[in-house]
């Protein structure tokens, strides 16, 4: 703060103070309170309007548009073979990717927090890459390794392994974009936990696995579960990377988000909205889970 500004601020304070002396104290306090109240309401109104325009109204609108002709058309749209296939394919990807990234996420968190080797800095950097990289670029990068013209293309073809335009490529794409969540949520919990209990267990003769299973894992479990929820949401909704790697073959490699795009671009808004609402409901379930868990972790750390 510059001195001139400080002195004007002080002077303003003096003037206000003198004025207050002249008026009756109570009415001035009341008008101050009224001004503060008006300000608070104005800020609240501004924040709520912004959220309503950007978030609330559009989401409400899609639910209204989806259900305005009743449940039957929605049910018919959702139970179409291609929609069902897309839904189950998305679930399948989640079922493969989430356990993988949970195990490796815990492993990375342990390596970064408990390890001693020099790989830790590089590992930390790797965990930031999926946040800084466009999903489309992820798809392209995978294509450059596992595609027909990619680095491993010849070897994969001669061994009869198809990665791109099939499930393995979609698993890789989904795993890449959802890689950091479990590790990112577990690292601070591990840090907070410290190593005292683990050292005590080791001194008492517990093996590394016993120490991990009986001491470390129970302490970090809610952090891990929170990371799992975020991984699931990200894996379920992944679009750009999977779009490039899958080839978007209807009824074959089309996930639910890809199905939404396909229906929308073919002017089948009923189908697009119905599938979008299914995904939105899953997103709401994720939010609910996140909030329950946030309370849980707070309780755990407080006690």
């Amino acid at each position: 703060m510059s001195t001139s500004e400080a002195s004007t601020m002080a002077a303003g304070g003096h003037v206000a103070g003198r004025r207050e002396d002249r008026r009756s104290g109570r009415s001035s306090a009341r008008s101050d309170e009224r001004a503060a109240n008006a300000r608070r309401l104005a800020l609240r109104f501004a924040a709520l309007s912004y959220l309503l325009a950007l978030l609330g109204a559009p989401v409400a609108m899609i639910f209204y548009r989806t259900f305005e002709h009743g449940l039957t058309p929605v049910w018919n749209a959702v139970t179409q073979p291609n929609a069902m296939h897309a839904f189950w394919l998305s679930i399948e990807l989640v079922a493969i990717v989430v356990p993988l990234n949970t195990v490796f996420g815990i492993g990375m968190a342990l390596w970064i927090e408990r390890g001693r080797s020099r790989g830790r800095a590089l590992l930390g950097l790797l965990l930031d890459v999926p946040f800084a990289i466009s999903p489309v670029v992820v798809g392209l990068a995978l294509l450059l390794v596992y595609g027909r013209a990619g680095w491993l293309g010849d070897w994969l073809t001669s061994n009869g392994i198809q990665v791109i335009f099939s499930i393995p490529g979609m698993v890789l794409a989904t795993a890449f974009v959802s890689l950091p969540f479990v590790a990112r949520e577990t690292i601070p919990v591990l840090h907070e936990l410290g190593t005292d209990a683990e050292q005590a267990a080791a001194t008492l003769g517990a093996s590394a696995w016993q120490t991990f299973g009986k001491v470390t894992l129970p302490a970090i479990r809610w952090g891990v579960v929170y990371g799992v929820v975020l991984t699931t949401a990200r894996a379920l909704g992944e679009f750009g990377a999977v779009s490039i790697v899958s080839g978007r073959l209807e009824g074959q490699t089309q996930t639910l988000p890809l199905y939404v795009q396909d229906r929308f671009e073919n002017f089948d808004t009923t189908g697009a909205y119905a599938a979008a609402v299914v995904l939105a409901l899953l997103a709401f379930a994720t939010l609910l889970g996140m909030n329950l868990l946030a309370k849980r972790t707070k309780r755990d750390t407080v006690v």
Partner: protein, 275 residues
């Protein structure tokens, strides 16, 4: 850790070291297959023809237009986020009203909602035939709207915890010394929040620069008009023009990393300065 290891029986120590080496090997293999190898292939492909080829790919008129649009819209979006994100965090921390907790939970919706659904949702209200009479379809405003939607939580969620921890005694002291509420905010609250705002802005920017799913339906992807960098890359891949896609990818990645690194550095410097 080392003292504990010294006290371990010799056999157990050797076994745990072997176990940890095995774990690191498997983890390293996973990360190589998933991240390191693909990123290396991307960099190698972008640099394959040397600097002049790279420059040629990046400076093609369509690529330049796409990159320019991406960077300009992202900059506008994060500037808006810095203001609205701080405002929303303020209201969520300092105000009390019914439904506040539900609202707080809703802030994360853009993180949980698949990006393509975000695009469809915005089009349902602000697209053709929407009830508002506004139609942003295939305009640059639509790109901005989609990016505002998907980056909404970043600034809010980084400012909120700092605001919760902020000691209100100094604000009250300044107020009782006659400082108006604007002065208190500008002189006391804002400096304390700046590092958090900056790191939220950095994350928003990194996300905005690479965003694809929410933009692809709403923007119409018109070259030179509404085509952003990620969509340009997608189209080049679809047209088998992989080297152009790789070159522009590297530029996008560098932009995101530079802003992410720079802002984080700035935020750390600011928070040290405040402390």
């Amino acid at each position: 850790m080392s003292t504990a290891a010294a006290q371990l029986p010799f056999g157990a120590l050797r076994r745990s070291r072997a176990g940890s080496a095995l774990g690191k090997g498997v983890l390293g293999a996973y990360l190589s297959v998933l991240v390191l190898l693909p990123i290396s292939a991307l960099l190698a492909n972008a640099g394959k023809g040397g600097l002049s080829t790279f420059w040629q790919e990046v400076s093609s008129p369509e690529a330049v237009a796409a990159l320019k649009l991406t960077l300009i819209v992202s900059a506008i979006v994060v500037a808006i986020n810095a203001v609205t994100g701080t405002l929303i965090a303020w209201v969520l921390v300092r105000d009390e009203f019914p439904g506040k907790r539900a609202l707080n939970a809703m802030i994360d919706l853009p993180f949980a909602l698949p990006t393509v659904v975000a695009g469809v949702v915005l089009l349902a209200l602000y697209g053709k035939g929407g009830p508002t009479g506004i139609d942003v379809t295939f305009t640059r405003a639509a790109v901005g709207l989609a990016l505002l939607f998907v980056t909404l939580p970043f600034v809010v969620r980084s400012v909120q915890p700092v605001l919760l921890e902020l000691d209100r005694a100094s604000e009250e002291a300044a107020g009782s010394l006659g400082a108006g509420s604007t002065t208190v905010f500008r002189r006391i609250v804002l400096p304390a929040l700046t590092p958090a705002i900056l790191s939220g802005v950095a994350l928003s920017f990194a996300r905005a620069v690479g965003e694809f799913g929410s933009v692809v339906l709403i923007s119409g992807n018109l070259p030179f008009k509404t085509e952003v960098g990620s969509v340009y890359i997608f189209n080049q891949v679809e047209n088998d023009n992989v080297s152009a896609a790789a070159a522009v990818s590297v530029v996008l990645l560098l932009c995101a990393l530079v802003v992410l690194g720079g802002m984080t550095w700035l935020a750390n410097a600011r928070s040290k300065h405040v402390n």
